[in-house]
């Protein structure tokens, strides 16, 4: 034990049989399983663990839980390093390494600590006052400030750990596993309701585990806790989650929680996740989140060794650690006397208790009486006016308070102390209640905010409701749990409350800023963001009256601890400065997450290959085996082009495009959306949804259709085949598939329910190989002996059914290239077989697979649009020069009325045209702005932009399409494209570049 000089000989919930090693700031220490990093450091006598945010003053471990503002550390190194962790929450494991953050070059010798000597130049609003001018320099300032403020370092490598999400639905969620939470869980669970209880710490019981010798139903409190947890764990409908912090409370009782699954193990077993992020939908919520002790605001109250009184007690009783050998307790309430008793039980020396209250106001309390009976020296009506020690407190000076408590008087008494345990009263943890939009009210007697009106189906119990007594927590916990269970629909009787001996406690004395006559000491309010009482008073003087403004101006409460220990003190000092009542100053809003959460936990499994589904076609293995490159098309990965040997992309695409027009090319078109349309009114439905006529389409024939929104703008397009009188096979764009099906269902269900028609997605039922080129028919003929491929039997836009390569197939003679072309559809299980058969049979025709890039070029050569490329939701058929497909004589179709709007008919609308760059070798950049008049600098008269642009080997030059204002009237004009690396010019043309008469469709 000699390695841990401040470890008590007995006590605590640590595993004393095992000693483990850890490193802090490069130095090796020892602790025990069950320690936190903070308790282990304290056991080794290490208080000084960090430096303040602004002044870089030495800071020590302050608390024992989530509210810790000082002991922020960087855990681990390499890809697993994590910044901003609170040492009080980091479970100790063998081999743990941690360093202080916000120090440079080292904790003991920190250069920026010079700030503490120039602090009068760093007042509230310092950044605003200093770095605002010149505004153009802010980016540079920000960089320096962030470095100086240093909040740890993010890892640069990929996180090697795994995370996951977990969804759950419960009748009653109980947040907090202290006495109130456990009582609520027992009551709710007894009804058979689905209950979940979460506890942020590893152990349950909250304060009763370290508050000292209390009895519940005649047994020690800790045993009652153990029994209660065991009982809950044994119940099938109860989920008990230790090491789980509820991080967010959202609408409709949707709650998120972070479970630290393996953080306490050090090495994460490979089959387990490091953390699990719970997404919980609860019918009812019971908040039993406890309370947080407030510091007292006195001079130099940030010196290492000055801690919350309850934290001192917790280290003694839960970890067997003595934070100091000579402790002064500074309090305004009875609860801190529990710390005195705990220290006394551990045979630790208590220099004195300094109580802000007059003896007459305190002496009737049971705890005060117990301290007196043990002979602990108490100074009533006294205040600490100064503290000695820099990197560790060495003592303090106290004086008597004048009658009104605003000044001190009389002689100074010096007390020796290497630890000061302070208590300024308790603030219920109302953060989650506040997140859920519950309102708060001010409890004057207990000097704290308590939950008032809930917005969600939630109830607060125990200390989080301002009920600080154990008896009350148990009784109201049971009641809250029972009521929540009943409200969720469960039935049962409320169990009897366990018996607890009452403890009489006297009221606290609220002195928000402890008076001093010693001058210079800083009185810290917000320890994490280095905000002092003087800063808040200065802000008030400067007119920052709203608490929200004061918060932002001084940064109080804006640290990662969200002001857990500082908010009420700050509000009270602001109220005092404004001579206002605390509730009139208001309170700030708490926002999720309650505590910092690693990004990995939010991501869960959505990382790497599981970030997004990668959809591929049945022919995909062939593309991979044959050297295809791929491009993303929505979630699809489509073959882009197939380079041979050392071909560049341009060379490969040129070759593919020429082959498709001179020999035979083959494209995997499986991703096209496919919708089966069935019913006696199917033709009528299509007639209304498409701009052109569909009633007279013959069975066995296909037609291209354009779909508009009600606004008359092009929405989708595709070829639809009539398979039978009442049966159509519609194709959509790859990206528009789901939206089109929704669109059809919407019109069917809401506007035309009288039409008898059904829609069913068959996108992936069919694999599609599209072959095109003069030799396409010869190739297909080799593989099909039951389909007549003659022009007469299967003309352009004809459809036939039979077999291809022995596979059941539907063959559509449709073309997106302008060449003789067949789309062969087979059930998708056969897609790869169809493809390989076509490739084998096509060998003698030098069949050339082409990808999406060549597909784009080939269709652009013909001036065929791609919805989403030539259109952007603001383009009408007329804009595209596609009036030919709008059957204006039809009674109606979706979008018809909008096409007659004045705006739809403007002559200067952006219209689709071709652009031929002056230099035929230059490919205009897609998206480039087209202007009428070139000027040295913007603004220029913008006409539109390039929508598609390629090099066309078939045309022997570059080609482009563009949407240009009044473009149809500009044919032949030269336009300019101003670019950052030089200006280009181009001539406006018709948007057809190859075979404009369409003579090649017949091969």
């Amino acid at each position: 034990m000699s390695h841990q000089p401040y470890r008590l000989a007995s006590g605590g919930h640590i595993d004393r049989d095992h000693e483990i090693e850890f490193t802090f700031n490069g130095r090796l220490y020892r602790g025990h399983p069950g320690d936190t990093l903070a308790s282990a450091l304290l056991a080794n006598g290490v208080h000084f663990v960090g430096r303040g945010f602004k002044y870089h003053r030495p800071r020590g471990i302050f608390a024992a839980g989530a509210e810790e503002p000082n002991a922020l550390i960087q855990l681990g190194h390499g890809p697993r390093t994590e910044p901003n962790l609170r040492a009080t929450q980091v479970a100790l494991y063998d081999g743990l390494t941690a360093t202080s953050q916000n120090v440079w070059p080292s904790l003991r010798f920190d250069l920026a600590s010079v700030n503490q000597w120039v602090s009068r130049f760093l007042p509230a609003g310092f950044y605003y006052k200093t770095f605002m001018w010149p505004a153009s320099q802010w980016m540079r300032y920000e960089h320096v400030i962030r470095k100086a403020a240093g909040l740890g370092k993010a890892p640069t490598d990929r996180d090697p750990d795994r995370y996951e999400k977990m969804h759950d639905h419960v009748d009653v969620l109980i947040v907090g596993g202290g006495p109130a939470g456990l009582a609520a869980a027992l009551a709710a669970a007894a009804t058979g309701a689905r209950v979940m209880v979460t506890e942020a710490k590893a152990g349950f019981g909250g304060h009763i585990c370290f508050d000292g010798a209390q009895q519940i139903d005649g047994q020690p409190a800790a045993e009652w806790v153990t029994a209660a947890v065991a009982k809950l764990q044994a119940m099938p409908e109860v989920t008990v989650l230790p090491r789980t912090t509820v991080t967010g409370y959202y609408d409709h009782n949707y709650i998120t929680a972070l479970e630290r699954v393996t953080d306490h193990l050090g090495n994460t077993p490979t089959h387990l996740v490091r953390q699990r992020f719970w997404k919980i939908r609860a019918k009812q919520v019971v908040l039993a989140t406890g309370a947080i002790e407030r510091p007292l605001v006195f001079a130099d109250n940030d010196r290492p060794g000055i801690m919350l009184a309850s934290a001192v007690r917790e280290y003694v009783n839960s970890y067997g650690v003595l934070p100091g050998r000579e402790t002064v307790i500074f309090t305004n309430n009875d609860d801190a006397y529990r710390t005195a008793l705990a220290l006394d039980d551990a045979h630790a020396r208590i220099t004195a208790i300094v109580d802000l209250r007059a003896e007459a106001d305190a002496v009737a309390g049971d705890l005060v009486a117990a301290a007196r009976d043990r002979g602990i020296k108490t100074y009533f009506n006294h205040a600490i006016i100064a503290v000695s020690g820099h990197r560790r407190v060495t003592g303090c000076s106290i004086m008597e308070l004048a009658e009104d408590g605003t000044t001190v008087t009389g002689p100074v008494t010096s007390l020796v102390a290497d630890c000061i345990a302070m208590s300024g009263g308790w603030s219920p943890s109302v953060h989650l209640f506040s997140q859920s939009r519950g309102t708060l009210s001010w409890d004057d007697e207990q000097a704290c905010f308590i939950p008032d009106v809930a917005h969600e189906a939630t109830v607060s119990v125990g200390a989080s409701a301002g009920d600080f007594s154990l008896a009350g927590a148990l009784k109201n916990g049971l009641k809250g749990g029972m009521e929540a269970a009943r409200a969720s629909g469960a039935k049962g009787r409320q169990p009897a409350a366990p018996k607890v001996d009452p403890v009489t406690e006297m009221p606290l004395r609220a002195i928000w800023q402890v008076p001093t006559n010693a001058g210079k000491g800083k009185q810290f309010v917000d320890f994490q963001n280095d905000v002092t009482a003087a800063d808040i008073r200065l802000a008030a003087q400067e007119g920052y009256l709203s608490v929200e403004h004061t918060k932002r101006y001084t940064t109080t409460g804006m640290g990662t601890d969200q002001g857990r220990t500082s908010n009420v003190n700050a509000l009270a000092i602001l109220a005092n400065a404004r001579d206002a009542h605390i509730p009139d100053v208001g309170t700030t809003t708490f926002r999720p997450p309650l505590e910092p959460v690693a990004i990995g936990a939010f991501a869960g499994r959505a990382v790497g290959g599981q970030f997004e589904p990668v959809r591929s076609t049945p022919m995909d293995p062939w593309h991979h085996a044959n050297g295809a490159t791929f491009e993303h098309v929505g979630q699809w990965m489509r073959a882009w082009y197939y380079p041979r040997g050392s071909e560049t992309m341009r060379e490969a695409v040129d070759r593919e495009c020429v082959a498709a027009r001179t020999g035979v090319g083959i494209l995997d078109a499986s991703t096209l959306g496919k919708i089966d349309v069935k019913g006696p009114d199917a033709a009528e439905f299509l007639n209304r949804i498409y701009t052109n006529g569909w009633l007279k389409l013959a069975v066995g024939r296909a037609r291209y259709g354009l779909m508009l929104g009600e606004d008359g703008m092009v929405k989708d397009d595709g070829v639809t085949v009539r398979l039978a009188e009442d049966h159509f096979h519609m194709t959509t764009t790859t990206g528009g598939t789901a939206a089109v099906l929704d669109w059809l269902e919407e019109w069917s269900q809401t506007e035309w329910p009288d039409l008898q028609v059904y829609f069913t997605s068959v996108t992936e039922q069919w694999a599609v190989a599209s072959i095109c080129g003069p030799k396409a028919r010869d190739l297909l003929a080799e593989l099909s002996d039951d389909i007549d491929l003659s022009d007469a039997a299967l003309p352009f836009m004809g459809v036939s059914t039979g077999t291809v390569a022995g596979l059941p197939a539907r063959v559509f003679r449709i073309s997106f290239t302008g060449e003789l072309s067949f789309e062969i559809n087979v059930p998708s299980r056969h897609g790869l077989a169809l493809w390989t058969a076509l490739m084998a049979a096509g060998e003698k025709y030098d069949i050339t697979p082409y990808g999406t890039e060549s597909m784009h070029v080939l269709r652009a050569e013909k001036g065929f649009i791609i919805v989403g490329q030539e259109t952007d939701g603001s383009v009408t058929p007329g804009d595209l020069g596609m009036d030919w497909i709008v059957a204006s004589k039809k009674a109606d179709f979706v979008g018809k009325r909008s096409l007659a709007r004045t705006d739809s008919l403007r002559a200067d609308r952006k219209q689709l045209v071709g652009l031929l760059s002056t230099d035929p070798e230059v490919v205009l950049p897609e998206g480039a702005q087209v202007v009428a008049d070139l000027k040295p600098a913007p603004p220029m008269t913008m006409l539109g932009h390039v929508t598609s642009s390629y090099y066309s080997a078939n045309c022997g030059r570059s080609i482009a399409m563009a949407l240009i204002a009044g473009g149809r009237a500009r044919l032949g004009e030269t336009v300019h494209l101003p670019l950052s690396d030089g200006n280009l010019t181009a001539v406006v043309t018709e948007p057809q570049f190859f075979d404009p008469k369409g003579e090649r469709l017949n091969g």
């Binding site: 969804h167 599981q610 049945p618 089966d676 059904y758 997605s761 068959v762 996108t763 039922q765």
Partner: protein, 198 residues
């Protein structure tokens, strides 16, 4: 030329999955390849008796599945059902259903090749599913005989609980199947997973 008519691939075939795993695995994972799938659109008030005979009973109620011998029917929507049948039996069933409806306005669409079925079964199956599915899978809300169309993380699925093991069938479009499979295999690591051939 080689006969390709016997070449049929499911979307998971290319993962080259190895059957096996610990005998005490918390879940088993397997693909049911080429199960016949017929999507039925019909107004449920007008079901001829012949259809009930083919499906082994009346159409399922909201959120439910009916089991009729070789046929399982899942409710998908107020006028939409998914009928699962033995591999290869879909064409005959489709024809029989159309005959049974005798000209009534219905759509019976073959979706056999549109999707595949991943079966996740075992004592920890619910635990694994809850990692990717937001709906309540507790037996009080979702038990054997229930079905739902929902999202599994980023993949749309139809989920059917087949028995109390519990065994679940996840019907997923082909192109999402590899994503779903690898997700489930990864999410099962903590309970152990055995890959089975079904």
């Amino acid at each position: 030329m080689a006969d390709v008519t016997t070449q049929a691939f499911s979307p998971l075939d290319h993962l080259n999955l190895t059957v096996g795993g610990p005998s005490d695995a918390g879940v088993s994972l397997g693909e049911r390849r080429f199960v016949g799938k017929l999507n039925l659109r019909v107004t449920p008030a007008k079901i001829p008796p012949a259809i009930n005979d083919l499906l082994g009973g009346p159409l399922p109620a909201v959120g439910q599945v009916t089991f009729g011998g070789q046929v399982m029917t899942a409710w998908l929507g107020p006028d939409e059902y998914l009928i699962l049948t033995e591999p290869g039996a879909e064409s005959a069933l489709q024809a029989a259903l159309l005959e049974g409806f005798s000209g009534q306005h219905v759509a019976v669409t073959d979706q056999t090749d549109n999707a595949t079925i991943i079966r996740l079964a075992g004592g920890d199956a619910r635990w694994v599913l809850r990692k990717g599915i937001a709906i309540d899978l507790h037996p009080r809300s979702f038990a054997a005989g229930n079905c739902a169309q929902t999202m599994f993380e980023r993949a749309q699925i139809t989920l059917i609980q087949v028995d109390d093991a519990p065994s679940y069938e996840l019907i997923v479009r082909n192109s999402f199947a590899p994503y779903l499979w690898s997700w489930l295999a990864d999410a099962s690591q903590d309970v152990g997973v055995r890959i089975v051939r079904l």
